[in-house]
């Protein structure tokens, strides 16, 4: 296990509960979904075929929940400086992200300090993940190991 802290690595003692530590904007297109399907091996056609999505009662093609979970933590990874500092990450999938064939679905992420555990050396970072003014993930929390 590594623990190489660079000068840019955030320090637990410098953080305040409620403070925004990172933000991100992710423009999703159908290409993003096809790319994720291939990279992850999740080839459920509701993530790339309108006819199949509609046939199972969905309003249209939607992003893989695991894709949204995957990028939503990236602003936190960049802030922490090392993906290995994420020791726990959980989300609830509350609303789908619809991705039209000919347009972009923009998903925004705001990461705030939710709680600090100095004894464990862990900051809980709470994520607000929204698409078109509605949140799409609930209880999205990343626990980050910091010095």
């Amino acid at each position: 296990m590594t623990d190489i802290a660079t000068p840019a690595t955030p320090r637990l003692a410098d953080l305040t509960v409620g403070e925004i530590v990172a933000e991100g904007t992710f423009p999703l297109t159908r290409d993003s979904l096809v790319h994720y399907a291939g990279a992850s091996g999740d080839f459920n056609p509701i993530h790339y075929r309108d006819d199949v999505a509609v046939s199972v009662g969905l309003p249209g093609v939607l992003a893989h929940g695991m894709l949204t979970m995957g990028f939503a933590v990236q602003p936190v990874v960049d802030w922490a400086g090392d993906p290995g500092r994420i020791v726990d990450y959980q989300v609830r999938f509350t609303r789908p992200v619809l991705v039209p064939a000919d347009d972009v679905a923009v998903v925004t992420v705001v990461a705030k300090v939710g709680a600090l555990d100095a004894d464990a050396g862990v900051a809980r970072i709470d994520l607000t993940v929204s698409s078109g003014e509605v949140t799409v993930l609930g209880k999205a929390q990343a626990r980050v190991r910091l010095a």
Binding site: V56, G65, G70, F93
Partner: protein, 148 residues
């Protein structure tokens, strides 16, 4: 049809080991918009103290997937794949996944709850490395919708 409550507590046989490839980690990283050089560049990963590129946190789902396939294929489970919705997901790490790891996942069904025609199944996949050391536990809650 509701999910078989006797599934609760069942431990499945470990799935075949998954060898984490460097290019797979890089491909997955790009697909989730990861930009950390530790995910993409072996030199940067080594400089940070890792043997090779580090996988993004949610890469663990790729290793977990075979265990969920086991669950859905279990003959007496009563889980209709077309009615499954992913409810919750969690990853709890002892250490990050690094290219070169050979990982083995074992599924335990932690709970089965049938309520109001719907079922909730909590599947816990414990992922260990070639030395048998814990790497990550992936927990999924699957909601199986009842007949409309």
């Amino acid at each position: 049809m509701s999910v078989n409550p006797e599934l609760q507590g069942r431990v499945f046989p470990p799935v075949a080991p998954y060898l984490v490839g460097r290019e797979k980690v890089r491909e997955f990283s790009r697909a989730v918009f990861a930009t950390s050089p530790i995910n993409l560049d072996p030199e940067a990963a080594r400089a940070a103290g890792y043997a090779d590129v580090v996988a993004p946190p949610t890469f663990a789902v790729v290793v977990q997937e075979a265990t969920l396939a086991q669950l859905l294929a279990e003959p007496d489970a009563g889980i209709d794949f077309t009615r499954v919705v992913h409810g919750d997901q969690r990853f709890s790490f002892s250490r990050p996944i690094v290219a070169g790891d050979e990982l083995t996942a074992t599924l335990t069904v932690a709970s089965v709850k049938n309520l109001g025609g719907h079922s909730m199944v909590t599947a816990v996949s414990t992922i260990v490395d070639a030395a048998g050391e814990h790497v990550v536990t992936a927990t999924s809650t699957l909601v199986v919708r009842g007949d409309e």
